[in-house]
Symmetry: D3
Subunit: 196 residues, 6 copies
């Protein structure tokens, strides 16, 4: 099952990559146990690779009023709406791990309205979906709907910016036919001792 | 996690059900090890319950040019398009089991065009999606597009009828907020020895 | 005009049908004066035929807070939205007869918002259309919007289940190119004495 | 049933209208036996009334490669797509009369692909629907698709211009909640002797 | 750049036109300094030409609670939504001139929600867009939403009728591939002395 | 007209920015004569600012089979589809300057099918629009449609990646209500001597 190509485009070998990219990838591999294919597929274009991951980290690793799990919810919900297999599978895994909930990703990817999440999180995803699917219609009232849930303006920027960044990411994955690693499918689905 | 309601509507206890329904449910329980919530949620209306499962069996158990796994692909793809958490999770599990492929359901539910399936199966799902989403536009050319893949007219009826039946099923699940059993999420994701 | 096929699929003769199906059809014929083509077209698949009409009767004949005419309004409105000629023409006729109103079906099929129906009935059809066209977005607020109009939870089930069942029915009719009987077009359009 | 208002806006009496408008309306009344409500509803704005009917006549009465019935098919199909009760009911009646076919209007209004019309007429309606619903996407290939059916460039102008004019008409009828006359519903549905 | 055809259809010369049309066109030419191509393209069909401009003038020149600039805003916003290059460019120019604002047309054509216009004007455009894009869903509440902004029922007719008329106009321009005059692009973009 | 805020979010002063960002902005100012507001609005989040412009430059400044003007066409067409005033106005200006064509941006933003561009460029924009609006449906046939126009696989990556990057950019601009600088509106619209 794993001999299938991971991208419509050529994928460079680790050896052939610039040192900074190789270092980044090896670091991920060490932490995760494997190299997510997005690193390999985007390495075809080093400058875009660097900008992509710098942007990703700026949004996903910064201090925020959103937990890391909440940020992954945004990714999973909007990637589902964009029919992006790579992002649903890969970020679904990360969401399960962060949230320590083996069911949440399948729910959020299919229909966040039916997911086991809080009203605050549903309001967050409603805004994120609007940014993803109809950003031209965002008005002040959309901001106002988030404030009673305790979201600050900076939190709202985070929600919208993550939806916007994965609008880019989903389109790159769909265009390149990026293939999720087999490892993602099971990640976070088993009780802790089995993961060890 | 399991105390959440499985339906917006009251769910009868097994004891309170008519004998034929209880028998059917106990049979499923014995085979699967648990009772899928669709049986309990729809038991609220016995006559509809009986018709629903008679229809389901007529389509999903009959002799057909489609394998059982292919029929589940139709369910999973169209249920994804209809944002139906119950059907994606439950039938995704069945698809994984039938196909002995732990990755296929997540792919098909998100975007069948990117799934590890044959061109014949992609043509099948393209027709099923048209029945699900724009049945008024089906024309003779849609039938003709399937024949080079070896589908007979009876096979095409099966494809369309399954998409049509799950148009009903998805709407019932969405309206009642039907909740998938926890058991489905992991089913078919592990190598065989772990399932034992 | 009547030599045109009533289905893309073969239609069995009454003689060739199983006894229970023939009996059902003869009963309809006696009551209506003709055999609606849906009985003949679906007879191509006896098990599906039986389940289909069992489901139909469970919803359309049961005791309900909805009148029979209101149930047909749901059929006509959602079938119009699904571009289903068979269901609009056949159930439009039934709606006219039940409601003793020769104009209502054309109004409801085209735009229920402009039909000569009550605010309660417009609210009913708004919910039915949401089940038909965007069931994944149904939320508790949709249920709450119906209660001031006097709809019980069981009534709401009926509304949604009828919309769901005809989601199936419309798709089968569209896929098989089911042709409405000529008789339906005029039914319920004339003052009573002319119908005799 | 007839005391309902025919427009959201005031409707002038015949006496109060300018002479040219009254003459036009009386002429229609003499020919049809009643005054179609569009004449009364639009009389609220005399200059628009005059331009509207001048435009209508320029398209619907001119010499053309399209029969008058074909022109009404365009009206009925696009008005169905625009959910316009007035135009579907009124022009449906005219179509039945011109085509001497009691079934055609209900078919064309619901789904022209399933109507008892020629392939040439289906091609005509496909173009008309594109003008009605997605005119920005019309390209030379759309013109080329019509020529093998024998449509000249002037015929194609007629098709598109009728679809365009009823884009206006449907919107006016929807905005004003224009009500079809009761007379239209039955017109053209009965064999000739009954109409007398 | 100007040798490109201004229509898919033949364009008559001024000499060959009926006297009333030539007079009208010469009057426009004198006022504007050039003949807008819509006059030439529609002159292919004299009767439609006359009705079109009569309708246009009835709406755009009448006394109204809407300023002439506001009426052009409706044209520009709905023409943008209909992807009509001719109307966006030509009426964008007129809007800039009337409003003495070189930026407004580009804003309104792209997204009126972000334009430098008043809340009253945004409400006006929201109604106009609903007439343009989903007129079947207009209900009394849409009228009620406009009244607090001071719009009378006659003003609302103007808003809707202009949106409806340009639904026609946009479709004619798209079908004929009507080309905007080069002159329109710069009109109203420069401070007054440069225009002289 | 210029006292209006350029973003829903606070905009830092040049003095308060990190040195690298200030340097970048001053460089742009020197080249363009003003600071495009996107630099100021995104400076609210320095890390995202750096990644955004690194990504932008990686795509828009690299060697490519696409001219710089063609890359701006992609931006303008997809930004129009996304109703993004900032990007249509700002990149429309850049497109006019690069292409030395004062009309092209308004055409491409409204409807690229009607723009004065080559068949090759229309094919390019058709692919870009599919990435922007329906990336999940991209298939091998979409790549194949571009090759007869001389696009290499690397060119196609550029087309898709630019559409993907501006999917992000449009959403950020829409969410923050980013306001285009007044300077952009006239840029590239005048013969060269007037620009001096």
């Amino acid at each position: 099952m794993t001999a299938r190509p991971i991208s419509r485009y050529p994928v460079p070998s680790l050896d052939a990559m610039p040192e900074d990219m190789r270092a980044r990838i090896l670091e991920v591999q060490q932490k995760s146990g494997f190299v997510p294919n997005v690193f390999l597929a985007l390495a075809h274009r080093p400058d875009e690779f660097r900008a992509f991951f710098a942007y990703h980290d700026a949004l996903m690793l910064r201090e925020s009023g959103l937990t890391k799990a909440e940020r992954e919810m945004i990714v999973v919900a909007t990637s589902g709406a964009n029919d992006c297999v790579y992002c649903v599978v890969a970020h679904g895994a990360i969401l399960r791990v962060y949230e320590k909930n083996p069911h949440i990703a399948d729910q959020v990817a299919t229909n966040y309205r039916k997911a086991d999440i809080s009203p605050r999180q549903k309001a967050m995803l409603a805004f994120a979906m609007k940014v993803a699917l109809a950003s031209g219609t965002i008005e002040d009232t959309d901001f106002e709907a988030l404030r009673p849930h305790g979201f600050s303006d900076e939190d709202i920027w985070d929600i919208g910016a993550i939806a916007a960044f994965f609008a880019l990411s989903n389109r790159m994955a769909n265009m390149t036919a990026m293939r999720p690693n087999d490892e993602f499918y099971l990640l976070g689905r088993l009780p802790r001792e089995k993961k060890a």
